[in-house]
Symmetry: C2
Subunit: 123 residues, 2 copies
DNA sequence: CTTGAACCTGACACCGGTGTCAACTTCTAC
DNA sequence: GTAGAAGTTGACACCGGTGTCAGGTTCAAG
């Protein structure tokens, strides 16, 4: 599919998609004229990329991880090296801590919302 | 306490603490000579600020929220306006989605780690 | 006093994903 | 073949919290 469709279907800007490709996160064929032609599976992949970005990983690390994931095809095409595994374990810890932060922050918000709720109308 | 101590006790850089103050997130007395003198409770407050930052809120929103929280003193000093509550509810939704992303990303990492674990040593 | 540590303000830069403008090319459908 | 939509590359800028350097002042201890 063309970049416009991919952008529409994933909700990600074309600029970002080109950037992903440039970073090696995404691969595309090209038409004779040079237009990108993405495979169907790119849709899922873009969503994964976004999730990993949201989890605070940078494009370098994502590029290392992606080939080690099992595609919808089957098993992973590349095996993670021990060094990479160590880094991923560290990332995992970071993600855990981040989830903790988020949960606490959500509680804070709830508290503020709740405190306002009971009294906004009343005196 | 002085900024150096606050930095040491919270693990946050002095630069950031000054920035927080500048953004109205933190208040300090000043010595006759102009040095900052933070109250004891600043420690907890800085930690809260960091959590909210980690949750993706910017300093403007944090500045709005902080006075609506109950301090360790007692009740909140300011009540959230309905408009602010609406914004906070939106933030809350964003946080929920982010937690979802994080959990999925963590699963991805686990999957990669696991896939590598069983075979790193073996053929 | 004097001296060294600690603090002050201000400024510059970074990161890194994303928006956007520009100038040009390709595709599609008539 | 031709017009208009859609795509291409390249460059510039932003955000916003944080690191850091510079030049000067204050604090605390001797």
């Amino acid at each position: 599919m063309r970049i416009g469709e991919l952008a529409a279907r994933t909700g990600v800007g074309q600029r970002s998609l080109r950037y992903y490709e440039q970073q090696g996160l995404l691969v595309s064929d090209r038409t004779p004229g040079g237009h990108r032609d993405f495979p169907e599976r790119a849709v899922d992949r873009v969503i994964r990329i976004q999730e990993l970005y949201a989890a605070g990983l940078n494009s370098t690390k994502i590029a290392q991880i992606l080939p080690c994931m099992r595609d919808e095809d089957g098993g992973p095409s590349v095996r993670a090296t021990p060094a990479l595994v160590a880094e991923l374990a560290a990332e995992r810890g970071r993600i855990d801590r981040m989830i903790g932060d988020l949960v606490r922050s959500r509680e804070v918000l709830d508290e503020v919302i709740e405190a306002a709720a009971g009294r906004t109308t009343a005196a």
